[in-house]
């Protein structure tokens, strides 16, 4: 495939700012430098080279350039030798590495210079002059020039610095409204003021049935039971709704619903994804941590601190310490290219993924865009990206996985003490089995080590590689995989056979290098010795100690520039970013920086997410992008009010949810109103509640719930945890199969396996989050594959069958009661269970007609139709009827 190259024109079209004016001074010193250059060479430069550079190149590649191209300035010795984004333009004495020579030869049309509009390719004799000049050592009297790469591309941030999101939230007076009686909360006053300003009025309130269904799905993700509906209907007190809300906020199902929202943002998944997909059998601990945090209403700032630097925080108890460690799983669960064979590339990719997850998830910023160049739109210099990258390069990310074929980057996990009291999966490795596996491992290791020694020896002796038996190479690959798997398994249990408490997470790297630092698995070092080109070297850590990151030109790991001290993005720092103490990664300071009350984004981004999850649309619609390419807030005063309120109330997510849900605005109906619609068709001003498609989990859980099958108790772990290390749906049957990943246990959807590229069908079809990316706003699609799932899948059939049984059993008719018995009561009951309302007359008619027609048609489809009993037909009719209810649009949407 054609290698994708960023053209120089594409690279950086940034104005060379006034900061470079000072460079003029440098010219005066030219004379001094010139004395060191022999006169003939100096003459050659002045006669043959300088005029061409001035004439052909300076327009785009000098400090005077209107638009500096490719970050390259050739108007000084320093500049031409340092080069631009692609590397040095001139390497004295080295024609091959001098990009300028390649460019003027016009060999590569992407980099050919000078451009056509500047006269095109230079005459052959001029090209020869340049070659001669480079060969003589590129003598160049021109002093001055850029001091650092970054300085050469000084970003003009003045304009984008004014972007609203980079300024602290402003406290605004709650506006006065005409219809003061309508408003119940400050939220209502902000919204109503907006409506009134346009001469609009909110629609009527939602009725009680609509409201209770809405708030159940929004807060706990399942529909209300009939008893709960009845209780709410009968409660005529003004606090009736608040009573329901408080009960839901305190139910364990709340964390399962809202924890899942955060898991979308945290790009939670149980495998490494990418090109070779390795299971993360311990990821579920992080999942459970998140659910528990939402249930406990852990303050959001604390929640973030624990996820980013939990291992560095003080803890009162062992349990708390263990939970802090588990929280850092946030940093470890991202997608990774486990097969990457360049350790430096790998380390930088992992760091990049972490930066991306945090910056989009917590800050609503796309900081990772600045990996290869200054951010094109937001005031984030590439330098500051690498300031943050240093923090993560200094972090030892522990995600486990078994080493072996296609996995060059297994790591240790974090082992937590049994006394922490964290649960473990119900799997044991009995001592006898252990002994047998240890023996097996020892045998395989022996064979493997002999094979490796043989290879090393052959290499040392310089024996031709052709002499090495390739089949042996394949055998070695198998051995490496088998030993990796066995090691991982043996390491996962203690001597008594119980599972160890293992977690994914992060630790600071050591400040000083030590022999044992880095390297996962027992054999990392052995293969590391194989050096470059060695195929099977284990996990080699490119950055074994606390370190600053070099600035990599164009993000190319082979082009390290000067090191950038670890730090943060200055536009969000308000001039007071915490200092990172020597010998630490800086994660603690990162957490501090993110959660500082002065950080303009963290609170806003989170309250906006909450708003989005309750109204279906954020005040800032682009929930993960508050940068200059994102949306403007529909009501910044309201957003800032909520953000400041969030901080004032101790970052309590439950309080902010409660406040929003109890507002009048949340309790509006979703009814249509022509006048409002004409003025505000997108409902930006919230004149009604938007109709929303349920999330995949709600659809599945609701089917389980109304069919009476939903198992509410939280399981420990899941199928991925039970399967242990290995591939996800790997080639040649390696690892967990698609079928295993789709085994449908009737637990809540949040507890189903969530491996990358292998999400269970029942969730994937209904727009589950893309779990390799931060997802603050899921898609909603209506595609035929969803319809086919509803009509023909075993899962839905089973739910429909069970619901049919439930409905029939609800109005028993005795042994001889046919299909007609209690038909209307049963239809009504089914409607209540599925839709939280009774059927209207038209629906009743349609349902009755269905029961009249279906059984005969069904019987026709059965072999030996004559002998089919009516009871079977009735059963099939109920299954089909209930499936139709599940399949309907109403089941999928909340009003």
């Amino acid at each position: 495939m054609k290698t994708y190259q960023i053209s120089p024109i594409f690279a950086l079209l940034l104005a060379a700012g006034p900061a470079m004016a000072a460079l003029d001074e440098g010219k005066k010193a030219d004379v001094a430098q010139a004395e060191a250059i022999p006169q003939d060479q100096l003459d050659f430069f002045e006669k043959k080279i300088r005029p061409v550079l001035t004439d052909k190149c300076y327009k785009c590649h000098s400090e005077k350039a209107e638009k500096l191209k490719g970050g390259l300035m050739v108007d000084s010795r320093e500049g031409i030798r340092r080069g631009g984004d692609s590397g040095p333009a001139v390497v004295p004495g080295n024609l091959k590495d001098s990009l300028l020579i390649e460019a003027i030869h016009y060999g590569n049309k992407d980099t050919a210079m000078p451009p056509q509009k500047a006269g095109g390719k230079l005459p052959a004799d001029v090209i020869q002059d340049f070659e001669k000049w480079v060969q003589m050592g590129a003598p160049d009297p021109r002093n001055g020039g850029p001091v650092t790469v970054a300085a050469a591309k000084k970003y003009d941030t003045e304009k984008s610095k004014d972007w609203w999101a980079f300024k602290a939230p402003k406290k605004t007076e709650v506006p006065a409204v005409q219809d003061a009686a309508w408003a119940r909360a400050d939220i209502d006053r902000f919204l109503l003021a907006g409506l009134e300003a346009k001469g609009l009025k909110p629609v009527a309130d939602a009725d009680k049935l609509t409201l209770i269904r809405r708030v159940y799905f929004d807060l706990v993700g399942v529909p209300p039971s009939l008893d709960e509906i009845r209780a709410f209907e009968q409660d005529k007190s003004p606090n009736a709704f608040a009573t329901v809300v408080d009960r839901l906020l305190n139910s364990p199902q709340f964390g399962e619903r809202w924890g899942r929202h955060w898991l979308d943002v945290a790009r939670y998944a149980e495998s490494s994804g990418k090109e070779a997909n390795f299971a993360y059998p311990h990821a579920w601990r992080y999942r459970d941590y998140v659910i528990a945090a939402f249930n406990a209403d852990k303050p959001y700032d604390e929640f973030l601190r624990e996820q980013i630097a939990g291992d560095l925080l003080p803890a009162k108890t062992e349990r708390e310490r263990a939970e802090h460690e588990v929280a850092t799983g946030y940093l470890a669960i991202g997608a990774k290219s486990q097969n990457e064979n360049n350790p430096r590339q790998y380390a930088l990719d992992v760091a990049d993924e972490q930066i991306d997850a945090i910056s989009q998830g917590v800050l609503g910023m796309t900081i990772a865009c600045a990996r290869c160049h200054d951010h094109k739109f937001d005031p984030i210099p590439q330098r500051e990206y690498y300031a943050m990258a240093g923090i993560f390069l200094s972090t030892d990310t522990r995600y486990g996985t078994a080493s072996g074929q296609q996995n060059r980057h297994a790591t240790q996990l974090i082992e937590l003490p049994a006394s922490s009291g964290l649960p473990t999966i119900t799997k044991i490795l009995a001592p006898a089995e252990r002994a047998q596996k240890e023996k097996q491992l020892a045998d395989l290791e022996k064979e493997r080590n002999e094979m490796i020694s043989e290879r090393m020896e052959a290499r040392r002796e310089g024996k031709p590689a052709n002499g090495v038996d390739v089949k042996k190479g394949v055998r070695l690959l198998i051995l490496l995989t088998q030993t990796g798997m066995l090691e991982s398994e043996l390491n996962s249990f203690d001597a008594s056979g119980r599972p160890k408490i293992l977690a994914m997470g992060a630790k600071d790297r050591p400040a000083m290098s030590s022999a044992s630092a880095g390297g996962g698995g027992r054999f990392g070092g052995m293969f590391a010795g194989g050096g470059k080109g060695g195929r099977f070297y284990g996990s080699v850590t490119a950055f074994p100690t606390i370190t600053d990151s070099p600035l990599y030109a164009r993000g190319d790991v082979d082009k390290p520039g000067d090191k950038v001290p670890r730090g943060f993005v200055s536009i969000l720092s308000n001039g007071n970013a915490p200092a990172i103490p020597e010998g630490t990664s800086g994660r603690l300071e990162l957490a501090e920086w993110l959660t500082a009350p002065t950080n303009p984004l963290t609170s806003r981004v989170m309250v906006n997410r909450v708003w989005h999850w309750l109204f279906g649309k954020g005040i800032v619609e682009s929930t993960d992008n508050f940068g200059t390419t994102g949306h403007l807030p529909s009501d910044q005063a309201l957003l800032d009010h909520l953000a400041l309120d969030f901080q004032k109330k101790g970052y309590s997510v439950k309080k902010i949810i409660r406040e929003i849900v109890l507002s009048h605005a949340y309790q509006l109906s979703s009814n249509f109103n022509p006048k409002d619609f004409a003025a505000d068709p997108e409902n930006t001003l919230v004149w009604r509640m938007s109709k929303r498609r349920l999330d995949a989990e709600c659809i599945r859980d609701a089917m389980l719930s109304v069919s009476g099958d939903l198992q509410y108790s939280a399981p420990v772990g899941d199928a991925v945890a039970m399967a242990g290390d290995g591939m996800i749906n790997g080639p040649r049957g390696r690892g967990m199969s698609e079928a295993q990943l789709n085994v449908d246990t009737p637990v809540r959807s949040v507890y189903l396996p969530d491996a990358r590229d292998a999400v269970p069908e029942s969730l994937a079809l209904f727009d589950f989050a893309e779990n390799s990316l931060v997802t603050g706003d899921r898609e909603t699609t209506n595609v035929p594959s969803q319809a086919l799932f509803m009509l023909n899948s075993k899962f839905v059939e089973k739910r429909a069958e069970r619901l049919g049984e439930r409905v029939v059993a609800g109005y028993p008719s005795g042994p001889n009661g046919g299909l007609g018995a209690n038909l209307q009561e049963r239809i009504t009951y089914a409607y209540w269970l599925v839709f939280s309302r009774p059927p209207d007359n038209a629906e009743r008619t349609a349902a009755t007609a269905f029961f009249t027609r279906f059984p005969a048609n069904w019987a026709k489809g059965q072999s030996g139709a004559a002998g089919v009993r009516d009871a079977d037909a009735a059963r099939a009719a109920w299954t089909s009827f209930c499936r139709a209810l599940f399949a309907s649009a109403e089941f999928r949407y909340v009003n």
């Binding site: 990418k274 068709p681 790997g730 080639p731 698609e738 023909n792 026709k860 489809g861 089909s880 309907s888």
Partner: protein, 428 residues
């Protein structure tokens, strides 16, 4: 299920632009489109009609190809033994390779010139060689890394570092598809590893653009099926059920007044119902004549499986599917090159030639792009006595479909070495 009952004039001006966009990224427009356009009117959308995300779109430049069949040769087929003639390498057999300690290995297959254009093709592909004048060989390919998973993913999405939409997804996004009752992008027996679903996924594009996967590598395509197509009910009984679903939906539509998303659900059921019958029809090759089946090598165990895939690919594109990918593995011949590559070539050569012939006979070849590609090539030096290692620095792909007659393309840096090692010696 009358299409015309759901023409777009049901959409009142009260819909917001946003609703409409949302709606149409949700599938409603499939039907709206179907009602106003037919297959032939592939390039235009009538003024005022609402854009359906899968509706055929007019490309920015006049296209010579209307559909793609992507023949994926997973594992990295040896270019020097198939489509990249290296006389010097044959002459230099046994001499030291660039990688220390290796010896060059000339191809054991004879190369001959074929067609009027005289393209050099190895005797491993005798049948494809007969189509030399319909091929365009690109012998100047290179990729970033000599490792299967990364190179395979890069071939499909352009990046192994980042999660990106696949080639087919982009094609569907850019061009839409012509048969709204079938998926616009179908992949037959892709590998589950090497990037897995990402190779045919839609990443950040709406899910509607991802491929319909049928089967999995390593299992015969004959037994592969599309999920959830089979109903346990008789057609009549299912119609009763569907009628009930749709009446519930209509009821909701009436209650809601305006709700494009409910319209979307209604359309999705109509489509699903059609797919239920159309998809098995497309997958059913039994109605193809014995001569056609034979043309594809169906009936011969060596070519049966890939022949079926090629025939299915033709049936799909003929039915209006925009992009069909079929995968054949495994071309990773580190050893046993002589036998394994011969077997691979035999498995695909006849069926591919059959596909090209059949497409031409049906007048489809002129605007169908048939691409043959692996993720990288193999080294000019031997690995073991009878194998070749990965080579990302040089490999060959070709496209058929008379884009350019019997042409040899040397794109990119255009460095072609007689020995086939690429720009640098490949030692991975």
């Amino acid at each position: 299920m009358n299409l015309s009952d759901h023409s777009c004039n049901q959409i009142t001006p009260l819909f917001t632009r946003r609703d409409i966009l949302k709606n149409f990224s949700c599938g409603f427009g499939w039907l709206a489109f179907a009602a106003i356009a037919n297959k032939a009117a592939a390039t235009t959308t009538p003024a005022g009609a609402i854009e359906n995300p899968l509706a055929p779109k007019k490309p920015h430049f006049a296209a010579r190809a209307k559909r793609v069949i992507f023949l994926t040769m997973r594992g990295g087929p040896s270019h020097v033994d198939t489509f990249d003639y290296k006389p010097q390498l044959i002459a230099d057999t046994g001499k030291p390779g660039k990688r220390p300690g290796t010896q060059l290995l000339g191809s054991k297959w004879k190369f001959t010139q074929n067609g009027r254009s005289g393209l050099w093709i190895s005797e491993a592909f005798p049948n494809v060689a007969k189509h030399a004048d319909e091929l365009c060989l690109v012998r100047s390919m290179q990729t970033d890394l000599p490792s299967h998973p990364q190179a395979f993913l890069k071939m499909h999405t352009g990046s192994f570092q980042f999660v990106r939409p696949s080639l087919g997804a982009w094609t569907l996004y850019g061009l839409g598809t012509e048969n709204q009752n079938l998926p616009g992008f179908i992949t037959l027996t892709p590998p589950s590893g090497f990037g897995g679903a990402q190779n045919y996924g839609s990443a950040f594009l709406p899910a509607i653009y991802q491929a319909q996967r049928i089967g999995q590598e390593g299992r015969p395509v004959a037994g592969a099926e599309v999920k959830n197509l089979d109903t346990s009910l008789s057609t009549q009984a299912q119609r009763n059920e569907l009628a009930l679903v749709q009446s519930l939906n209509q009821e909701k539509l009436v209650r809601d007044g305006v709700n494009p998303e409910v319209e979307g659900v209604i359309q999705s059921y109509e489509l699903a119902f059609k797919m239920q019958s159309q998809m098995p029809q497309v997958m059913d090759i039994s109605k193809e004549s014995p001569a056609t089946q034979k043309l594809y090598g169906i009936g011969d165990p060596a070519t049966e499986d890939f022949g079926r895939k090629c025939l299915l690919a033709r049936r799909c594109v003929e039915a209006g599917v925009r992009f069909v990918e079929i995968t054949h593995g495994n071309w990773d011949q580190h050893f046993n090159l002589t036998n394994a590559l011969a077997a691979n070539a035999k498995a695909v050569d006849g069926p591919i030639a059959g596909l090209l012939t059949d497409l031409r006979l049906r007048g489809l070849l002129k605007d169908t792009l048939v691409v043959w590609a692996g993720e990288f090539g193999r080294t000019p030096h031997a690995q073991g006595g009878d194998g070749r290692d990965h080579n990302n620095k040089a490999f060959t792909v070709w496209d058929g479909g008379r884009r350019r007659e019997g042409r040899l393309e040397l794109r990119h840096h255009g460095r072609v070495r007689l020995r086939g090692g690429g720009k640098q010696s490949a030692d991975q």
